[in-house]
Symmetry: C2
């Protein structure tokens, strides 16, 4: 009989590639760090960069800090999924991290600026892209200043860039407001998104 | 300057219409009931039907039980968003419940069979449709029998119908396995989906 061929066993979720993006200082790193600390079973991609390390940063955890020469080599050897020149430094996504995790069935999360997010979408159309926004321009400005690492001209440039980046919002799947002092809520929302996406009917995400 | 016109205040989620569907006896009612008991801030649409009340059911809570004459009147007065004849009875979704809740900014959830879900999609294309499945044909059969309300022929018909309904899965947005003794987990997943959808970039769901 025909119905004998129709399986009830239809739910086979695939691992997800989750992209966290948004303007500078919106809190991408803080979000990823909190998820990492809570030991969520997900591979956190560590970005490679040739920019100097901040005193608070740990090599191999916050970024993979490499020389300009080594970064050039990574480009030449096709070791990076994408790379870009942002605020006077290169940043790139190591290919082996993403592919190894996905092929072992693990979700992958990576933080990237908005221009990088667009490139990731071209390479992995089925990725889940989340755009973080600050509650207001004032909150974002405050956070940029709090870092204490930028001069007035750089603050101005970063705010102007953030305003432009918000125009890209329709390229993203989700928008999450990362309000001051509500980092927990932001992470909860991101976890809901990941949970939901595992159940999403999508030809590339569930083997029907 | 151009960037002055670009607002950071981009997140204005709209209320959602959430549709819970799936084969007979998969647990739609149990899911909705648990959400209701937990007092989730959502409007639970009560379906109108002309079928007789089960002893365990409460009028106005489980269903709005009406006579065939009154059901005909609801159809004639365009009081139902959609209605259908399923397993020897009419079932219909009262329009006023859905429209009143949505216009007051409240999410709405309704349970409906798969043919009804297709009609709801036509009327509200932006609705979120969740398809519940049993873990296996055996689990579904067990649940149909447990109800103790159907004879062998009806069990056979319902199982065959369920097999056919699973073919509709690609019309849905999400698929959730409602495993025996894991109702809590099913509800958690549905809540994640609702949370995620409130953040989804969708022209009809967030005013950008």
């Amino acid at each position: 009989m025909a119905e004998e061929n129709l399986s009830f066993d239809v739910y086979h979720p695939q691992p997800l590639l989750i992209v966290i993006s948004g303007p500078t200082a919106v809190g991408k790193d803080a979000v990823i760090k909190l998820m990492f600390e809570r030991k969520f079973p997900i591979h956190f991609v560590v970005t490679a960069t040739n920019r100097p390390r901040r005193l608070t940063e740990v090599d191999g955890v916050d970024y993979i800090f490499v020389s300009t020469e080594r970064f050039q080599e990574m480009i030449d050897n096709n070791e990076l999924i994408e790379y870009s020149w942002v605020y006077n430094a290169y940043k790139g996504i190591p290919r082996n991290q993403v592919e190894h995790a996905l092929s072992s069935g693990k979700d992958v999360i990576l933080r990237i600026d908005t221009q990088g997010a667009r490139k990731i979408r071209q390479i992995y159309p089925e990725c889940v892209q989340i755009f973080l926004v600050a509650k207001s321009k004032e909150e974002l400005e405050e956070r940029i200043r709090k870092r204490g690492t930028e001069d007035e001209e750089e603050v101005r440039i970063r705010l102007a860039t953030a305003s432009e980046e918000i125009q890209c919002i329709t390229n993203f799947d989700y928008i999450v407001v990362n309000e001051n002092n509500h980092l927990e809520r932001t992470v909860e929302t991101i976890l809901s998104i990941i949970d939901a996406e595992h159940h999403r009917v999508h030809p590339r995400r569930i083997n029907l």
